[in-house]
């Protein structure tokens, strides 16, 4: 049996919810009761059945709704998907990777058949059945990167590797935590991370770049990042900040559980075989506080993390306005007892 895809929205009436099974598989990002930046990169290998790591490219119950939301964002603002002219080959690399991984992990939903460069791709959840010539852009309705990332959950950045650096030269970015592809495209690794506080001084980016430029084909890596979002809104772009920013003033003690969401990014890094680029999928998972606190360990730990977060990080993540309300609400679920080691629920 396949996945039952939910009908839900990430805007207006915000009907997004996680099913009980999806709450248990949520990639909770804190392995201890406090948080500070670290180069928390590890090999991206298959994890336990039923977790978000069961497949290296995860497809879940939100797939169809997320793809519909992406189409809405692109219709409003096509600049969310851009590829500099030298990145087309890397786009084909990405198309191959995502088709292979989705067909491998979810054969009941996706089928890829290849006869030389004549490919056929069937995507049943989205009702797509396309035959095309691999490498010939004129045989697809979009460029290869745009075509496949309109059918894959998460944002995607394709990085060109040259001069010992990584360059953000292509991307599909519609579910971002407040950064602009249109502004950052063409920048190198240090430049696009320039606004991040504290991490430069800690040498985080120098070490991370060294790691990433050495990633080998067939040996992807991953890390988790997190922030918080008011309402289950995928499109928290700077472009639309003046539209979603006011949400942050709407948090009250009564609605914290429903409005405040933990937003976790599962970032993975893959070497692309033909272009020697790196693709950097940023997969976003949302969970509202009411759902998260059904796991008592997560409730206790999140309380301690948010309460003790350094001020610069709270500001950078945009929590300042509602942090006291959130901490007060979470404190009632923290009896002070110890939490078990590791990310998972008890």
């Amino acid at each position: 049996m396949g996945i039952t895809f939910r009908k839900e929205t990430f805007r207006d009436d915000f009907t997004f919810r996680n099913s009980p099974e999806h709450i248990r598989r949520f990639p909770f990002p804190f392995h201890e009761d406090s948080y500070m930046y670290a180069v928390n990169i590890e090999p991206h290998v298959v994890g336990p059945k039923g977790s978000v790591l069961e497949n290296l490219i995860d497809v879940d119950e939100h797939y169809v709704a997320e793809m519909q939301d992406r189409a809405l964002v692109l219709a409003e603002d096509p600049l969310r998907c851009q590829s500099l002219p030298h990145m087309t080959l890397a786009g084909w690399d990405l198309l191959e990777l995502l088709m292979e991984q989705q067909a491998l992990g979810y054969p009941e939903h996706f089928t890829l058949t290849r006869d030389g460069d004549k490919w056929r791709w069937i995507n049943r959840p989205l009702g797509i059945d396309d035959s095309f010539t691999f490498g010939d852009t004129s045989t697809l309705p979009y460029g290869p990167m745009e075509y496949i990332t309109r059918q894959s959950q998460g944002d995607f950045c394709i990085l060109d590797q040259r001069d010992g650096n990584l360059w953000m030269d292509a991307g599909m970015v519609t579910t971002q935590a407040d950064w602009s592809l249109d502004f950052d495209i063409g920048m190198n690794f240090f430049e696009w991370h320039a606004p991040v506080p504290l991490a430069h001084e800690k040498g985080i980016f120098i070490r991370a770049l060294k790691f990433l430029t050495n990633i080998q084909q067939g040996k992807p890596a991953r890390r988790l990042n997190w922030t918080m979002t008011i309402n289950p809104r995928l499109d928290t772009s700077p472009e639309n900040y003046h539209k979603w920013g006011p949400d942050r003033t709407t948090v009250t003690p009564e609605n914290v559980g429903d409005k405040v969401h933990l937003r976790v990014e599962l970032q993975s890094f893959w070497r692309l075989p033909r272009s020697n680029g790196i693709v950097f999928p940023i997969r976003c998972y949302l969970i509202k506080m009411d759902e998260l606190v059904t796991q008592p360990k997560w409730a206790r730990r999140l309380h301690r993390v948010i309460r003790d977060l350094p001020e610069e990080l709270a500001t950078y993540k945009g929590l300042t306005r509602y942090r006291p309300t959130l901490v007060e609400w979470l404190s009632k679920l923290d009896d002070g007892s110890p939490t078990s080691a590791g990310f998972g629920p008890d």
């Binding site: 502004f183 991370h193 003046h242």
Partner: protein
Amino acid sequence: MAAKSIISRPVYGTLSPQPGKHHLFIADTEGALAITDMARTAPASFFDGAEIVFIPGPGRKHVAALEALRPAQFHEAPSFASLLPRLRQTLANAHMGLRLYLAGTEGLIGQAMQVALEAGIDHTSIQTEHRGSLARRMQCVHCKGITENVTTQPAICSHCGLLLLVRDHYSRRLAAFQGVCINAEDRSEIPPMEEIFR
């Protein structure tokens, strides 16, 4: 000289004569002084292979001083926009051995570098020196409009009218600093506007 801040913020140097066959200088008002200062240490025949493109602004200050360097070509332009077609052609026809020198306001350096990048010149090979106003060229992240000569913090987008925080985050591709709505969360919060990029 602009203060150093975050990594995407451009850092400018001091012009110095580079090995090369042709030397293209682009400068606005005070940028002329960077060129005349450099000329003091340049080899005798250096400007024989040089072209100076100058946007003097009102008053035509420094025009005579630059002409006195006797460059092979001297062109005076009323604005950056007016010199774009000429600059694009010069760069498109350029051969190996052309060296680029940019001097003046950040807006001038940024826009000239943008055209050079489009012509395939590596930004690290370009000599830059900041002189004159610290006014910024700013892209509104919301409507994408560029506002020239921003001197205040915050600043009003000349296209959509939002009140923007002028960040230090800078894009060479756009030749602009990023402007982000400063009171997006609560429009009734209006911070005082200060003139800080003079």
